[in-house]
């Protein structure tokens, strides 16, 4: 099945923009969906074990945030599954039967997650405390399973294998295990799951850091900052190691993507590592260069050969090299800053058994949430734009996957408008919830596991 009519370039642009926009939006909510339930359960467990009312209150409030972000994330996720058909019918039409099983597995995890989220968030009042806690325990595991399945699909798009195709382009045989455990899974999946935990941890901690900067330095706020920040800071170095091995693996598996990330024009040894700078066909202009370091990063020796963009024709190279390079450097930079923040917390904690109370520490935590989201988006740009012009690496071009239907620009415009409103509504809602909680700090109804009995109002 060859593509006869070349689709309008504008449809391709619109489809790529819509996909990038909706995915970039969803990835934040998905990260919260993966990791926030874990933080919620940590707080819940601590609250029950140590009879800690502050921890229980945090758990209960975080569960309300889980409810809202999960609902919105379910919606934006549904949009993505529509877009598989609406935007990329040739891709899904040909390879849906190859990668689709992963989404079927994801479906189970998502279904279970939806069920247990509902039981947990609606179960605060009438289930017994420990029963209630255990009703939430499946949620983070479902989140991990779901993240594995979805990211494994993306890994497959980067390292496709496990199918045979006839000369006419029909998929004739599939080896599902080879599809599921494709070579990019071992680095891409942990990298994304850790990213979800980092984003969630820093984002939640940043909320309480802002509160503390505004003078609310009670135990509730310190705990609200400490629990997520500890999780995130503990994982930041792990993420750095995973990301480093991912970069090396990409240099081997997708050398052109790596060359674009690092602006390597010609294959060579002793390649200079540039921090920022502008990518041109004559090499990097500006930026800080570290001679030989790029080679060293790829193979632990400056003698390592790094493959350059000139090994493939221009139409097989990713677009927007400078943006890719900046996205990569920004992600690495933010990751390094996170480790520094963790060291700061660790040293002070080790010496004084408390959170650093200085303004500068709280300011750093306050911006870490946004910074983590920026790093997440940068990483996503690196892997997605870096794979271009392929939708399935070296198998199918993105331009051959796009729909022939007219009107993608219209849906893109509508979707942007809709999501801007959605994002604003989400932000306003979360702020309103926070205000209400502050106002009702003494409210009885906020006490978890308050007196429960048969609902007095229900008449039989």
């Amino acid at each position: 099945m060859t593509q006869l009519a070349v689709p309008l370039a504008s449809t391709l642009e619109a489809a790529r923009s819509q996909m990038a926009f909706t995915l970039g939006f969803h990835i934040i909510l998905a990260s919260l969906g993966v990791a926030l339930p874990a933080l919620m359960l940590i707080a819940n467990h601590r609250g029950l074990r140590r009879d800690d009312a502050d921890a229980l209150l945090l758990a209960r409030r975080w569960s309300k945030v889980v409810a809202v972000t999960f609902a919105v994330g379910a919606v934006t996720g549904t949009v993505l599954s529509f877009e598989f058909g609406l935007l990329w019918p040739e891709f899904t039409g040909r390879f849906g039967e190859v990668f689709g099983v992963l989404f079927a597995i994801e479906g189970i995890f998502f279904f279970l997650e939806a069920i247990f989220v509902a039981i947990y968030i609606f179960g605060w009042e009438r289930l017994s405390p420990w029963t209630h806690f255990w009703s939430g325990v499946p949620i983070p595991f479902c989140g991990l399973g779901g993240a594995f399945s979805v990211v494994a699909v993306n890994s497959w798009m980067n390292q496709p294998q496990g199918y045979t195709m006839s000369s006419g382009g029909e998929v004739t045989d599939v080896d599902p295990l080879k599809v599921i455990f494709n070579p990019a899974v071992p680095y891409e999946v942990p990298h994304m799951i850790l990213a979800a935990y980092l984003v969630t941890g820093f984002l939640v901690a940043s909320v309480y850091a802002v509160g503390m900067l505004r003078g609310r330095r009670d135990r509730y706020h310190r705990l609200g900052l400490l629990v997520p920040l500890t999780v995130a800071c503990a994982l930041a170095p792990v993420q750095f190691a995973v990301g480093d091995s991912a970069a090396r693996a990409i240099a081997k598996d997708q050398p052109i993507k790596f060359a674009a990330m690092e602006c390597v024009q010609t294959t060579a040894t002793h390649v200079t590592e540039y921090i920022y700078g502008r990518c041109t066909s004559e090499g990097v202009k500006g930026g800080v260069g570290i001679p030989g370091f790029d080679s060293f990063l790829v193979g632990f020796s400056t003698d390592t050969e790094v493959i350059g963009l000139d090994t493939v024709p221009a139409e097989d190279r990713p677009p927007a090299n400078t943006m890719l390079h900046w996205a990569f450097d920004t992600m690495v930079g933010i990751g390094s800053a996170m480790i520094a923040l963790g060291l700061w917390l660790g040293v002070v904690w080790w010496r004084r058994r408390e959170i650093p109370q200085t303004k500068w520490f709280l300011r750093a935590v306050a911006i870490s949430g946004v910074a983590a989201v920026v790093a997440l988006e940068c990483g996503w740009i690196v892997t997605e734009v870096g794979r271009q012009p392929w939708i399935v690496y070296e198998v199918m071009r993105t331009e051959d996957a796009v729909t022939q239907a007219d009107g993608v620009w219209v849906t893109f415009t509508l979707v942007v408008g809709l999501y801007v409103v959605l994002g604003a509504a989400l932000a306003i809602t979360l702020r309103a919830m926070a205000r209400r909680w502050r106002a009702a700090a003494e409210d009885d109804s906020e006490v978890p596991y308050g007196p429960s009995g048969p609902p007095a109002e229900v008449a039989r």
């Binding site: 379910a74 949009v79 939806a114 289930l127």
Partner: protein, 344 residues
């Protein structure tokens, strides 16, 4: 039965479940939209929010289930449907965004002025989403979706009499199901007046759905002869079951009976959706693409069936737990909301 047929069966189970559970949810939004103003309308809306709150998310996972099984098991059909029916499916997707966020925010933003807007959006999109999904079904049945990337007409494929009638029928059936469900929920909440309120609406929706179904049959005969023939031969027993269940619900509601109406209403909808599947067999896209021709390689189909088996073992008990806890009032945001009136 081939494994392709088995996967098609799984797909159809998903479609049926979505028609029933998703439909009841859409219908609840429909009644929220048309509840009007005033005290009783507020209480009716509160009942709706209280009843679907804990279960609505799970209800809509069925749609994702259907999409995934379709694109994995029958990729070509999926690509053909989504490219030709780009407009109604985009509108349905937008409706889903509006609906989900409207629902999420009207629960949390209850002290904001925005609550009204959120409620409106929730109601309106509860009307539009099943309508456009219904037109998609109608377009497929009438053979307007040829195999290929946007190979069919982008507009006329889904704007004929049959798709439009099926769109309207989806809305009516959703409203009917929701009203029957809400009768039980009103009883559970101890609000006898709302029980009568929704019983009357169930009757109205049933009459509307019946009339649209009859018109739909006429349109089927004209525009989708293959499905019409199937429904009047192999699918006939299921159509009869559906009609009998539907009439039995009406009788029960008229008598104010306490049990059975909900199960029978589910039976009525499930039977007709299954009947449709039987009638369309062996085609995915009637007279364009058969199930066998459109199916994925065997290994994919087998994996899908295994995953489905695992899902049955894991999801069904969890779902049963959720619905049981919800029905026993063990999971709720608070007490039943509609008891502040004297009709107990």
């Amino acid at each position: 039965m081939s494994s392709a047929d088995a996967v098609a069966g799984v797909l159809w189970i998903g479609v049926t479940a979505y028609a029933v559970f998703g439909g009841a949810d859409f219908g609840a939004g429909f009644w929220s939209l048309f509840a009007g103003r005033g005290e009783r309308a507020r209480r009716a809306r509160d009942l709706i929010g209280w009843a679907i709150g804990p279960v609505w998310e799970a209800n809509h996972v069925w749609l994702i289930f259907v999409l995934v099984v379709l694109w994995t098991g029958f990729s070509t059909a999926f690509a053909s449907i989504f490219s030709t029916l780009f407009i109604p499916l985009s509108l349905a997707a937008i409706g889903i965004v509006l609906r989900g966020s409207g629902f999420a925010f009207h629960k949390t933003a209850r002290r904001l002025a925005g609550r009204r807007v959120a409620e409106r959006l929730f109601g309106l999109s509860s009307l539009l989403t099943p309508f456009f999904l219904g037109t998609v079904l109608g377009a497929i049945a009438s053979g307007e979706v040829p195999v290929g990337n946007a190979a069919g007409d982008p507009v006329s494929s889904w704007t004929g009499p049959l798709p439009l009638l099926l769109g309207a029928l989806s809305v009516a059936v959703s409203a009917y199901l929701a009203a029957v469900f809400l009768v039980s929920d009103a009883r559970r909440a101890g609000a006898a007046d709302l029980e009568r309120y929704f019983a009357a609406r169930a009757l109205g929706a049933a009459v509307a759905a019946g009339a649209l179904a009859v018109a739909g049959i006429v349109a089927l005969r004209a525009d989708a002869r293959f499905v019409y023939d199937g429904l009047t031969s192999a699918g006939l027993p299921l159509v009869i079951v559906s009609a009998v269940c539907g009439i039995a619900v009406l009788v029960l509601l008229r008598r104010g009976a306490r049990r059975g109406a909900r199960a029978l209403a589910v039976g009525a909808v499930a039977a007709v959706v299954c009947g449709w599947g039987v009638a369309q067999h062996p085609y995915l896209l009637p007279q364009e693409l058969t199930i066998d021709a459109g199916a994925a390689p065997t290994a994919t189909l087998t994996s899908l069936l295994i995953v489905f088996g695992v899902a049955v073992v894991l999801v069904i008990p969890s779902l049963a737990l959720l619905y049981t806890l919800a029905q026993r009032d063990l999971i709720a945001e608070g007490d039943a909301p509609v008891t502040d009136r004297g009709d107990r």
